[in-house]
C-alpha cells in the first residue's frame, strides 16, 4: 500500500501522456464527429509539454501538490481550446488541495473532488451535459467511496466509473461545448472529453497498480 508521492504523480502523468499519444487519432475522430476534430492533437501537445515539465519538477524535488499545480499550469499554457483550461484548472485545484510529501486515498479523493468542483465552476457543465464532467464526476464519486481502501483500488474503481460515464455520454444530447451546436445531431456519439477523462483515470489506476512483472 502506497500513498501518492511525487514519484507516483510523475508515473501518473507519464501513463496519461502515453495513453493520450496512443489514442490521439481516436480522440480526434470522436471530436470530428461532433466538434472540430482537434481534441487528440490538443491533448497530445499538452501532455508532451507536461512530460518535460514533470521531469524537471521531480528533479527540483517538489511535493505532489505543487507538482500537480505546475502540471495544470503547463496544460493551460500548451493545450488551447476548451480542454486546456478545463483540465488545467482541475489539476491546479486538485494540487492546491494536497499538502505534504505524500497523500493517502482520502486526501487524494478530496483533491480530485476539489479539481472536479473547479472544472464544473469554470465550464458551467453538469452531469448529463455530455462533457468530460460525465466521466470525471462518477470517477471522483467512486474514488471517494473507496476512501478506506488503498490508492490503487480506489483508482481502479474510479477508472471503471469514468469509463462507464464515458460510454453513457453516447445517447446524450450535448448542452455544452461545440457539440451543443449540433443539437439533436450530437446524439449517438461518444464525447471526446469524457473519453480522454476515462483515459486519464485509467492511467492513474495503471500507474498505481504494480505490473505483473514487479
Amino acid at each position: 500500500m502506497r500513498d501518492l508521492d511525487t514519484a507516483a504523480a510523475l508515473s501518473w502523468m507519464r501513463a496519461a501522456a502515453a495513453a493520450i499519444a496512443a489514442h490521439e487519432a481516436e480522440l480526434s475522430a470522436l471530436d470530428a464527429a461532433i466538434g472540430d476534430g482537434d481534441h487528440g492533437a490538443n491533448l497530445r501537445r499538452g501532455f508532451s509539454a507536461v512530460a518535460v515539465t514533470a521531469e524537471q519538477l521531480v528533479a527540483d524535488g517538489v511535493q505532489p501538490g505543487p507538482f500537480l499545480v505546475e502540471v495544470g499550469g503547463t496544460l493551460i499554457s500548451s493545450v488551447g481550446g476548451a480542454a486546456g483550461p478545463l483540465y488545467g484548472t482541475a489539476l491546479r485545484s486538485a494540487g492546491k488541495a494536497l499538502s505534504g510529501p505524500a497523500a493517502d486515498t482520502a486526501a487524494v479523493g478530496a483533491a480530485l473532488r476539489a479539481g472536479l468542483d473547479a472544472l464544473c465552476r469554470l465550464g458551467g457543465a453538469q452531469v448529463g451535459d455530455k462533457t468530460m464532467v460525465d466521466a470525471f464526476a462518477p470517477a471522483v464519486g467512486a474514488f471517494q467511496s473507496a476512501a478506506d481502501q488503498d490508492l490503487a483500488t480506489a483508482a481502479l474503481r474510479a477508472a471503471a466509473a469514468a469509463e462507464e460515464g464515458m460510454r453513457a455520454t453516447t445517447p446524450l444530447r450535448a448542452r455544452k461545448g461545440r457539440a451543443s451546436y449540433l443539437g439533436e445531431r450530437s446524439i449517438g456519439h461518444q464525447d471526446p472529453g469524457a473519453t480522454s477523462t476515462a483515459l486519464m483515470f485509467r492511467a492513474l489506476a495503471e500507474s498505481l497498480t504494480p505490473s505483473p512483472a514487479e
Binding site: D36, G37, S77, G81, A82, R175, R178
Partner: protein, 330 residues
Amino acid sequence: MKKFLDDADTAVADALAGLAFARPDLKVDQELRIVTRAGAVRPGKVGLVSGGGSGHEPLHSGYVGTGMLDAACAGEIFSSPTPDRILAATKAVSAGAGVVHIVKNYTGDNLNFDMAAELARDEGLEVEKVLVDDDVAVRDSTWTAGRRGTGATVIVEKAAGARAEEGGDLKAVADIGRRVNAASRSFAVALGACTTPAAGRPGFELAEDEIEIGVGIHGEPGRARGPMRPARALVADMLDAVLEELPASDDPVIALVSGLGATPLLELYVVYRHVAEELDRRGVRIARNLVGNYVTSLDMAGASITLCRADAELLRLWDAPVDTPALRWG
C-alpha cells in the same frame, strides 16, 4: 490529404513565418505566435487584441494594422491560443488606456481569453471583453454554448479599431464593438468539408447532392443536412435565417459574403447577386458590402452571409481608413 505544408505540427508557425516575410509592416513573435503592428502603440490609444484558432485566415492576423487590430494571437488550427500568449499580446499593446479583447464565442476562446484577462488585471491592466456571437445557426439557449462568433468579427474589429484610432476610450471602444455585435447576424452553408492537417481527412462526407446547413467555421457538421439547390434558393433560406434574428430597424446594412476557403470568387459574386436582389425585395438597403474570403474554415467549400445594421456612426467608422493585409482603404 494534400496541402502545401511541411508538417501538420508546424503549419501555423510556417504560415506566420511567411506572413513575417511578406509584411514588414507587421511584427511576428514566432515563439508566442503573436502578430502586432511593427511600430509602437500610440500612447493613450486603447489596444485591440483578438485571436483564436488558426485556419480562418485572413482572420485575425490579416486584420492587424492601422485602423483595426493591434495584435492577433494565433492558436493552433481551430484551437484557441493559450492564456499566457493572450496575456503577452495584451501587455505588448497596452499603452495606458486599457485593452479590448475581441473574442469569438466558443468555450475554448472564452476560457482562455478570460484567464488571460484575469492575469492581466492581476498585473494592473484594464481589460474589456467584446464577445462576438452572430451565428444564428445556433440558438442561444440553455441547450447550447450560445451563438457562435463568425463573420461579424470582421465588422466588430473594423469598427472598434476605427474608434480606438480616433481616440475613443476603453469603454467607448468596447461599446462600439458590442453594438456592432448586437446588430449583426450570420449564417453559413457548406458544400464540402474541410480537412485539418492534424486529422488528414475531411471532417464529414457529403453525397454529391447534399450540403451542410448552418455550419460554423471549424469544420464541424452543421445543424442539418439538406439537398443541394440553386444559389438563389440557398441564399433566400440563408437570409430568412439571418433576418429572423437581425434586429428590426430602418438602418441599412453592411453585407458581408465570405467564402469559407475553397469557393471561387465567381460563385461568391453569384451569391452576392441574390443577396442584393433578395434584400431589395424585402426592403433592406445595403449601404456597404464585402465579397471575398474574409472569415474562412481552411479548405471548406461554402459561404457565409453576415448582415450588420449600421447607423451613420457605424458607417463612418466602417469608412475610416484601414491599412491591413486583408482590408485597406481610405
